[in-house]
Structure formats: C-alpha cells, structure tokens
C-alpha cells in the first residue's frame, strides 16, 4: 500500500525533520541547482521576448478562467461529439469512483498510468488499490516513488530527493514484487537504470487494457486533450490500451489552439529547461481503428471553484505545473517537497492547497507562512502568478479565521501590542526607552560582542530563543534614533 500525505504535521515541524536529512539536502541542492541553471540559460536566450511571452501566457489562462463555464461547456460538447464520454466530478471521491467504475466495466485488475498531478491529488492509486485494481505508474520518477512506497517531493521530478545509488537499491529490492525483476548486475548508471525501467514497464504497456492520464491542456474548440512529456511512456499509455480515462482539472481548459502557442513555448523552458519537450500527445475523442476505442474524460472541481471565487487567489489556477517556482525557492531547496504535506509542494503548493481546501486545518494553515516572501517564485513563474501577494492574502485569511477565538494565540497578542505601540509615536518612544535600559542590563550580563565591537544579547530565554538559538542579536542601543534627533535637533546641536 502506498503512503499518503494524510496526517502530516504543520510545516515548521516537518521542515525540521527534512533539514536534518543530509542526503535530501545534498540531493536537492544539486538537482535544483542544475534545473535552475538550465532554465536561466534559456530565459537569457529569449532575451526581450521572454517577458511578453509570460504576459501572453498569463493572459490566455486568465481569459479562460474569466469565462470558465462557457469554455467548459464548449469542451464538453466537442468531446461528446468526438465520441468521448464526459463525466463531471465535484470532488476526489467522485472522480476516483468514475475511474474505478470504468476499470470494473472492463473487468480489469490493473491500469497503466501517465504521470499526472491531478490523479495524485485525488489519491486515485490508493482508491483503486483498495478495490483490487493495481495502478502502475509508468513515468520513471513516479515508478521510483511507487516502488519505494515513498511520497512525491517535486511536481516534475517526484523522486528528486533520491540519488541514483538509492534508485538502484529500490529497483533491486522492489521491482520483482511489481512485475519483471531488475537484472542482478544492475549498476547506478542512469542509462542502465532507465533500461531496467523500460524492460519492467514494457510488459505492463503491452498487457494493460485500461490507461489513465491527466492532461496538461484541454482545447475547448476541438475537444482535444494535450499531454506534454519527456519519456514517451505517456504516449505508450495513451495509445496502446483499448480504454483511456483522463482526469482533467477544470482549470486546464484553453479555448483555442492559437492560444496554446505561448503556453507551449513557456512550459518546457520553465519546467525541464528545454526549448521543446520530446513528446506532445494530442487526442480528440475516439478515432476508429487508431488508439483507444473507448475514451472517458473526467472534469474535476475538487476545490477549484472555491479558488476561483477568491479574487486575489484565483490567479493560482493559471498554474501550468511547470515547477519553476519550486526550483528557485530557497525554502523548497532546503526542505524538499514532503514537508509541505501535499502532492503540490513549494511556493505553488503553499498557495494552491489553502485555496483548494480552505482554512481550519493546522497543516494547511501553516503553508502560507512557509516562505520568506523573497519573490523568486513570482520572478520565475511563466504565467506570472504573484505568489508572494497570494501568500500574504492567505495569511490574512488564516489570521481572520481566528479572530473570534476565545483565547487569542500568543502571536496575535504580540501583534496587537506591537500595533498599539506603532499606532502612536509617543508610545513607541516609551518602548524604545525601556528597550534601551534593558539592553544595557542584558548586554552587560551576557558579555557577548558582535564583530565590530557592539554588545550582543547572546542567548535569550522564551520566545527570544527562536532567534538566538543560532543567531546573535545586538543589544538595543542606549538611545534610539528619535531620541537622538530630539536631543540634538537632528545632529545640528551636538555633532554626533
């Protein structure tokens, strides 16, 4: 049975554990650094074309979202007339049940899967598994995660936290129980590992009657689904089985083929750091004698209409799951994806999960705070999602949800006290005088000195420990700036 994210602790707790995982820290620093550099080189190469391209991509997705109902109905109409069966799913349970029903209708006990975020989001594999249907992941990284009974830690590269030696061990240990075993002389050469995966997967592709996918884009005007990938395993799943079920979030709709153009230029560059992805598969319903002869499309809400109703947050639905924001995020680089407790980690996960699920769960409520608001994600996002703006907006929602608490959190009390002092300069002056006095006492007690000679406070007890456990803190100065200004008339009187 594969693991799930259910019951994960809030971000600061999960992050503490991840930070202590030396292998993870090393792998992530290396892997994110490599992808960052590849993307940066391609953006550089685009020069002045890049920003207009981002604006165009953002505009396409935003227009589609602004009139989503119309485009979805067009999509349904076109899909249906092309021979596909369209299902509408309000939530994860409904969508998973559609897939299970299709599998049961064909009396199969296994399906092959194209890498897809949305099926991970709805916990499809677990649902199928619980009802006796094995769901085989065929993307190399997803296969590694599935064989290891692990959790994905990156949108594009779910096994980014593993290095090749670990992958070799996983293949040797686990492949036999899932099908064709790994060769006994397996090395950790990437080409050798890929060959072992190919052999392992090939028998599944040839045997499976039902394929399951997501979609990167759904083109409304022709009822076409688009899957973008690197390995070609997705195309195997999309073309070999007799039956194909695709779960598609409603935000994936793009009204016309012309509007797909900027997105197809933005996605590979932002995602894998390539000018063009190796495989783009497109299918429109059923074509007689070519590919799956029974095609189902599940259009999924699962919180998306909730996100759409949020005026600031709705821009998150523009996301094309490229993972550029993860690769540039200094927090993600150090904690990895598991700490975010969701299949959507990193900056986009920190906004998407709360937007889809709402406030109230301590784990979800911790996510908007899992950021230093450095803005690297916004700078990298190909569809210009202002992630810092949405993070701050969601923090406000978290705080507002607790405003009627009978016992306010210590943080809320501290913020109210600070706001009280900051609302009136004379109050702030009093606080600064008290701090200056305490600084003189504390500075003397700790006998610590900052480089350059200023007195430091050393290690503080209580809430101050969060700062001083690993960082020195200067002792408050005996005289604040405002006191100096008042005493010297802004330095005009006493020189100093």
């Amino acid at each position: 049975m594969s693991r799930t994210f259910v019951g994960m602790p809030p971000f600061p707790t999960a992050a503490r554990e991840a930070l202590a995982d030396t292998q993870l820290r090393h792998n992530l620093a290396h892997a994110t650094g490599v992808i960052r550099a590849k993307r940066a080189a391609l953006v550089e190469e685009q020069g002045e074309v890049w920003e207009p391209l981002r604006l165009a991509g953002a505009a396409v997705k935003q227009r589609a979202l602004d009139d989503l109902a119309t485009h979805l109905l067009t999509l349904e109409e076109q899909l249906t007339s092309a021979g596909a069966t369209v299902h509408w799913a309000r939530d994860a349970a409904e969508a998973s049940q559609v897939v299970l029903d299709v599998a049961r209708a064909h009396d199969v006990d296994e399906v092959v899967k194209v890498k897809s975020m949305v099926t991970a989001e709805i916990g499809l594999n677990e649902h199928l598994e619980a009802h006796g249907v094995a769901a085989w992941e065929t993307d190399l990284a997803e296969l590694i995660v599935q064989l290891a009974g692990d959790l994905p830690s990156h949108i594009l590269v779910p096994a980014i936290h593993r290095n090749r030696a670990e992958v070799r061990e996983i293949f040797l240990r686990e492949m036999a129980s899932a099908g064709r075993p790994a060769p006994a002389d397996l090395t950790d050469e990437p080409a050798v590992l890929a060959a072992a995966a190919r052999e392992h997967l090939r028998e599944k592709f040839l045997r499976a009657k039902v394929g399951v996918s997501g979609a990167n884009f759904a083109i409304a005007e022709t009822g076409s689904l688009v899957v973008v990938e690197s390995e070609g395993n997705g195309r195997m799943c999309l073309t070999l089985p007799e039956v194909l079920v695709s779960v598609v979030g409603i935000e994936k709709v793009v009204p016309t083929w012309a509007e797909l153009d900027p997105l197809m230029r933005l996605l590979p560059r932002s995602s894998t750091g390539e000018r063009m992805n190796p495989y783009t598969s497109v299918w429109s319903g059923v074509r007689e004698g070519d590919g799956p002869q029974e095609v189902h499309v599940v259009l999924l809400d699962n919180g998306r209409t909730r996100a759409l109703a949020d005026q600031v947050g709705r821009q998150a639905l523009r996301c094309i799951r490229c993972s550029a924001c993860l690769n540039v995020c200094p927090v993600y680089e150090r904690t990895g994806g598991h700490a975010y407790g969701s299949v959507y980690p990193g900056p986009i996960g920190a906004i998407l999960n709360p937007l889809l699920h709402g406030q109230g769960d301590p784990q979800t409520d911790s996510l908007p705070y899992a950021s230093s608001l450095c803005g690297a994600c916004f700078e990298a996002c190909p569809v210009r999602i202002d992630i810092p703006e949405v993070l701050v907006h969601l923090r406000t929602q978290v705080v507002d949800a607790h405003r009627s608490d009978r016992v306010p959190k210590a943080e809320a009390a501290a913020m109210r006290a600070t706001a009280w002092a900051f609302s009136d300069a004379s109050r702030l002056g009093l606080v600064e005088r008290a701090a200056g006095l305490s600084g003189r006492v504390l500075g003397r007690l700790t006998r610590s000195t900052l480089p350059g000679g200023r007195a430091a406070l050393g290690r503080l007890p209580g809430p101050g420990a969060a700062w001083t456990t690993a960082r020195d803190l200067p002792a408050p100065p005996p005289e604040s700036f405002r006191a100096w200004w008042a005493r010297t008339d802004g330095g005009r009187e006493d020189g100093s």
Partner: protein
C-alpha cells in the same frame, strides 16, 4: 523639495547609526532632510504576518507623519516596497472593516517613497560619491536584499554607488540573489529554515574573504550578521548608508 526621512522602526529602535548616516549623507549632498517625529513603522510586520486589522492604525500613523512632503526617503528596500505596494491593501481593509474609511485615499495622496539608492541616483542624479568625499578603505561584499532587488528593482544602483567610494574593494558574493532567510516573522515562525538559509548566505559571505558584509536593509543584516557573529567569523555587517556616508574624517576618528 521637502524631503522626509522614513528611518524605519528597526533602525530607529535597533540601528540608530544607520539613520544618522543617512542624514549626514543627504546633508552632504545638499538635502536638508526632515524627520517627522510622528512616524513609527510602515506596517509591514503586521501585513506580512496576516494582521491587516492591526496594520490599519499603523499605516494611519504613517500617512499622518508623511502627508505634505514632496518625497520620502528610506534606508530600506523592504520598507520602501511596503509603502509602495502594500499600503493600498491596508487602506482597503480600513474601509472594509470600517475602522478607517478615509485611509485608502490618504495613502494614495502620499508622496512617493524612495529607497536610499533610488533617491541618490534617480532624484539627486548622483553616481559618484567619491567626488563627495565618500571613503571606506575596507574589503566588502554586497548582498542585494530580495525586496530591493525584486520588489523595487534597484538593479545596479547600490553597486555603482559602492564602487564609487574611494578605498573600497568590492568582492563578488556567490549566489548573491538568493534570499538570506530573514523574511520578517518567518525568521522566528520557521526559525530552522531561516537559519539554514542564513548559514548558506554566511558561508558565501565568508568565501569572499571580505571583512564587511554590506546590504541595504538592516533587518536582513541583523539576521546574516547574527549568524556571522555566532560563528565568530570576523565579518561585520554594515548598512549601505553607513558606508556611503563614511569619509576620511570618520576613518581617522575610528
């Protein structure tokens, strides 16, 4: 032009020398900067932690302090960004919760807030501070703070000004554009991650061999400097304003 100094709460309470240096520098360049004593804080600590209701009276104090000036100048990229990009949000909250319906209009009528190097380069047209006596005979490395870099887009202004200071040797900081990990309340709410980021930044600073780390935000410097100090690294954190204001007379008296 009536120019007001937004010293920032962090500099006011913790780093008054940064405010004094800013005043000295601006006076040397012919700007008789005023210090509106009603000022407190730009409100960013509340806004960025999600406490918008609490930010309303703080931004009201800001609006009251700076109304009527022609320009506001501040030795902080972060606080300039807050004034420029967040006060509208707080103004709307004041109307929504009914506590201050006029705040949005009053904030919109405020003079522009400039980060110090923006003010020096764009408003005063200064590019060479050496001509104005700037002298700092030390090896320094410069960390571009996130909000000055990405929210304001100060670009090469700080570097250009630093390079014009006589005696100063500037060393390239590896991975300079990566966040130091301060992040306001992030530094304590996610202290472990903050320190992990800070220790990498400190490692890069030490790798330059510089004696002084310089940046345009005291809060980020307090964080990186705190790590450097705990490591007994022998590198001190100094605000950009203090270096730009430094002269040969300061070097002799030091």
């Amino acid at each position: 032009m009536r120019v007001a100094l937004l010293v920032t709460c962090v500099n006011d309470a913790m780093f008054p020398e940064v405010g004094k240096a800013t005043v000295r520098l601006l006076r040397r360049l012919g700007v008789d900067v005023a210090f509106p004593e009603a000022q407190t804080c730009c409100g960013q600590p509340m806004v960025n932690t999600g406490y918008l209701d609490e930010a309303v009276p703080v931004v009201r104090a800001f609006a009251a302090a700076f109304a009527g000036y022609d320009a506001v100048v501040t030795p902080s990229g972060s606080c300039a960004g807050s004034a420029r990009h967040q006060h509208g949000l707080v103004g709307r909250r004041g109307a929504e919760n009914g506590s201050d319906p006029g705040l949005a209009d009053d904030v919109a009528a405020l003079p522009p807030t400039y980060e110090l190097t923006e003010f020096l380069v764009d408003v005063l047209g200064v590019s060479d501070l050496g001509e104005h006596g700037a002298y700092f005979p030390h090896t320094v490395t410069y960390h571009p703070t996130c909000h000055s870099l990405r929210m304001l887009g100060v670009g090469d202004r700080p570097r250009g000004l630093l390079e014009s200071v006589r005696g100063l040797r500037l060393r390239e900081l590896p991975a300079a554009e990566q966040c130091c990990g301060f992040g306001g309340t992030f530094a304590v709410k996610n202290a472990e991650v903050s320190v992990a980021m800070g220790s990498d930044k400190a490692r890069h600073v030490r790798a330059t061999g510089a004696e002084v780390l310089v940046a345009g935000d005291s809060s980020c410097l307090m964080h990186i400097g705190g790590v450097l100090s705990r490591q007994r690294s022998g590198v001190r954190a100094v605000h950009l304003a203090e270096i730009l204001a430094s002269t040969e007379a300061d070097a002799e008296s030091a």
